[in-house]
């Protein structure tokens, strides 16, 4: 046994480890039992070397040395008894598990992370504590005893305390069944776990949303590389640098994602929301701040400031489901200091934070009615930028190269704080891929994940689009120095244009049906329909103009078309070119007459019903449209029986239009009567038998007029 006395007993280590890692403030959060030398020193108050030796000695004192291949037997029995006695206090296995994790931590710091190497590290710790263990005996002891101890910890956290001291992250690696349990705790320190909430917010994860593990790992890798102000611990960084898919990281991320409720936490475990900078661009222009009420935040919030309190509150009604609620009562005089240094407003459990950026990106906020800052520039949407002096040239250079023409700096004094510049009308359509660092937030993006966006969606289920209206595949930010990347559509690999932020799937001539798109671990599916199969549009909520009939005249019920308009008896509904209803005048059907130079004569059934119709000239719009003009419409003033086509070459010919019996008149007089008679008598008899028979009777009437 080592000559150094254990400065903390096994029981003291048990309590201190529990107090450090498993607390009420971590309720329903995943907690990592991450133990390294720093952590042990912090817990014990000793220096790192002493702390490690103290823990190792404490654990050594509990090992069953009489049975070298069952070294953990005492600890296993003690844990079992503790559980059967009601699990009062923390699990007695904690220091033993801490030592196991410490060995994994030290292993992770080397380049050799093979399972067998783990036991070398554990053996080293025990031998330093005077335990002359043989490696094979240690392996056997470990395999027999370690899993029940991890199971007990998991049970204690997840079931006995129902997550109120934190949720376990204990996962077994499929390759390292026993070592993996300790290894799983080396990925994050407790502070890193909070950073996971920031990661989930960054990828826009919705509570309850299921994300593929491969995609989660890729996104986490991407996010971690971009978070310059967040330091992940060595274990996590090591996992990310592995070439193969880090299974431990994947399962932890997936488990955490499945339990995420949309609440972002800061490094102290407080719920966090981001303040936004606002700009009222109406004179007198004014910068300000706004505080959103995000998931997990209460309707009322008290913030302590020097000398006073801010009482923030929101209305609980009047918001649509996808609208952001904003607190009222944020009565703070805006200062340039907020932009430079950031701002933090906090209460015990909540914090509102404005991060200090070199520039703020402001887009129109529908709910606020102002320009409001956002994390990222949105593609093809106008934005204003509030830019710090020191990066103005860099930002201007970027805009000069990638933004649409028309952006300009606002020169009016008194709007931007000293040392800052306001730039308006910034629109960037296509982001350059190879931009990182300070300017990365100017690369327009709507999501940090591969997503389907746009297209022509149909109300026929989820993810259904009109064929040729397939959505775009929006790509997440990716490493411009990476080897050429591809994406696949229905297992067909296609290259991704280096300069592209997305892929227009509608350009790929995909057939109607189900489709699967994959990009770097992310899988997205959608379907297309050629048609919903109906000749008439399937309208759930028709829109039309209703006319009330008053004295047979139509009076619009509302000024303009109205959705869900109900049509009562006696009313008319106009939808486009269709007028429907129980009443309504019907205009007489026009005659369609051929265009001929000499024109036509139309005769009715009654003597005197005659009109001459000349062919009109071709309308100008038909000339421009290149349409032929062979026939024209004519609205007759009387029911037409005969259409006489005049021709000096072949003589006038009559065509029967409507079979109507001639109507004799009692006192036939006048020019029109004579013209009617002469038109009949001047025509040849129609060839058609039915027409000829009727023609004969009209001639008889005409002859009678001549005699009168």
């Amino acid at each position: 046994m080592s000559t150094l006395p254990a400065t903390l007993s096994y029981e003291e280590w048990t309590q201190r480890l529990a107090d450090r890692f498993f607390r009420a403030e971590f309720a329903m959060n995943h907690v990592m039992f991450f133990v390294d030398g720093d952590c042990l020193a912090d817990i014990s108050g000793l220096d790192e070397t002493q702390a490690v030796e103290s823990l190792a000695n404490a654990v050594a004192g509990k090992l069953h040395r009489q049975k070298p291949r069952q070294l953990l037997l005492h600890v296993v029995r003690a844990t079992d008894q503790w559980k059967r006695a009601g699990a009062v206090g923390p699990p007695p296995a904690l220091p033993t598990l801490a030592l196991a994790v410490l060995a994994a931590t030290r292993m992770r710091r080397t380049t050799d992370v093979a399972g067998n190497n783990y036991y070398e590290w554990l053996l080293a710790l025990l031998r330093d504590a005077g335990v002359p263990a043989d490696k094979d005996d240690l392996i056997e002891s470990y395999r027999l005893g370690i899993k029940p101890l991890w199971d007990a910890l998991q049970w204690w956290l997840d079931e006995h305390h129902e997550g109120q001291l934190g949720l376990s992250t204990i996962t077994g690696h499929s390759l390292w069944r026993y070592v993996g349990l300790a290894d799983s705790q080396t990925l994050f320190s407790s502070s890193d776990t909070d950073k996971l909430t920031m990661f989930f917010a960054w990828i826009g994860l919705k509570p309850g949303e299921s994300v593929d593990e491969h995609e989660l790992v890729q996104l986490f890798r991407l996010w971690a590389a971009r978070q310059h102000d967040i330091k992940l611990n060595l274990g996590t960084l090591t996992q990310l640098e592995e070439d193969e898919h880090p299974a431990q990281l994947a399962s932890i991320l997936a488990a955490s994602a499945a339990r995420w409720e949309g609440v972002v936490r800061d490094e102290e475990g407080r719920k966090q929301a981001t303040l936004v900078v606002t700009l009222d661009a109406r004179p007198p222009w004014k910068l300000g701040l706004a505080a959103p009420r995000v998931p997990g935040f209460p309707p009322q919030l008290e913030i302590a400031l020097p000398g006073r309190k801010l009482s923030l509150h929101t209305e609980d009604s009047g918001y649509l489901d996808d609208e952001i609620q904003w607190y009222e009562g944020l009565d703070l005089e805006f200062s340039g200091r907020f932009l430079e240094q950031g701002l933090q407003l906090s209460s015990d459990d909540y914090v509102l934070r404005l991060p200090p950026f070199h520039y703020q990106v402001l887009h129109k906020s529908r709910e606020l009615g102002l320009w409001a800052s956002e994390q990222q520039l949105r593609p093809s949407e106008p934005a204003w930028l509030l830019v710090r002096d020191r990066v103005l040239d860099e930002v201007s250079g970027f805009l000069g190269e990638y933004a649409r023409e028309g952006w300009t700096e606002v020169k009016t004094e008194g709007i931007a704080p000293p040392g800052w510049h306001l730039i308006r009308d910034v629109i960037v359509d296509h982001p350059p891929v190879a931009v990182d660092g300070v300017l990365s937030r100017l690369c327009p993006r709507t999501s940090n994940r591969a997503a389907l966006s746009g297209g022509l969606p149909l109300p026929a289920g989820t993810g259904v689009y009109l064929e040729r209206g397939e959505p775009d595949l929006v790509l997440p930010p990716w490493d411009p120095d990476a080897p050429p990347v591809t994406f696949s559509v229905d297992e067909r690999e296609l290259p991704v244009d280096r300069g592209a932020a997305g892929v227009r799937l509608a350009d790929l001539d995909l057939p109607p049906g189900s489709h699967e798109v994959r990009f770097q671990g992310a899988k997205r599916t959608f379907s297309t329909l050629w048609s919903r199969g109906s000749v008439r549009p399937r309208v759930e909520r028709p829109v039309g103009q209703v006319f009330e009939l008053i004295n047979d005249l139509g009076v619009p019920r509302t000024p303009g078309a109205h959705v869900d308009a109900e049509v009562k008896d006696g009313e008319l509904l106009l939808e486009g070119a269709l007028l429907t209803g129980t009443q309504g005048a019907q205009a007489p059907m026009p005659l369609i007459l051929p265009v001929v130079p000499e024109g036509h004569v139309l005769l009715g059934a009654r003597p005197g019903e005659i009109s001459s119709v000349n062919s009109p000239t071709k309308p100008g719009w038909m000339v421009r449209a290149g349409l032929e003009f062979r026939v024209f419409e004519h609205d007759p003033k009387f029911p037409v029986v005969w259409q006489i086509r005049r021709s000096s070459l072949s003589g006038d010919r009559a065509v029967l239009v409507n079979y109507l019996d001639p109507v004799p008149v009692e006192a036939p007089e006048g020019v029109r009567i004579a013209s009617w008679r002469l038109a009949l008598e001047g025509c040849t008899t129609p060839a058609n038998e039915t027409a000829a028979e009727l023609w004969t009777r009209y001639l008889e009437i005409a002859a009678g007029l001549a005699d009168a």
């Binding site: 004179p283 022509l456 969606p457 109300p459 008439r536 549009p537 759930e540 028709p542 269709l578 024209f632």
Partner: protein
Amino acid sequence: MSNDLLLEWVSERGDGSWAQFRRAHEWLFEGSQNPNYVTPGFTAGLLSMLGHIEVDWVAERWAACPPVLTLLPSAGAHALLTGGRTRALMADFNRELSEDMNFYPLEPHKQRFAPSAVLVPCESSADVQALAQRLGIAFEHSVSSRLAELLAPLDRYLNLSLSAAPARGYGFRVFDATRSRGETM
């Protein structure tokens, strides 16, 4: 063409919110060479004028209109297919035209800011009416005439709309749009 695809979409979709129309318009015309004034509102107004959709601007909802074959006045007896144009309808329509000897199919007439105009030359209103019946859509030979007869004459509206002379002696202000405020004259 994007306007034709937009009409197909509004017809197949049936109805929706203004936000949905705007998003579809922005997606369809992203990167196009259209002038700045070709906004979603501009296109929706055109589609409404052409009888393809109706828009309730207050409720921010739109709906495709029922398809109608209508004879245009002074159009050389050309019937126009207006209202919603689903792909199923257009397939039936093209098939009918190719099989019916009474009709001479025309290529749709392309338009710069609007969907292609689908015109059918005919020699008889009865033929067009029968075609509409076979397709299961409405026939209207002169909706403008019907509306003209239905609505009150203009002078009757004017009689209802007489306004009083403005009060004098108070001066007036002119709104300066560039500075967003009124200037007393």
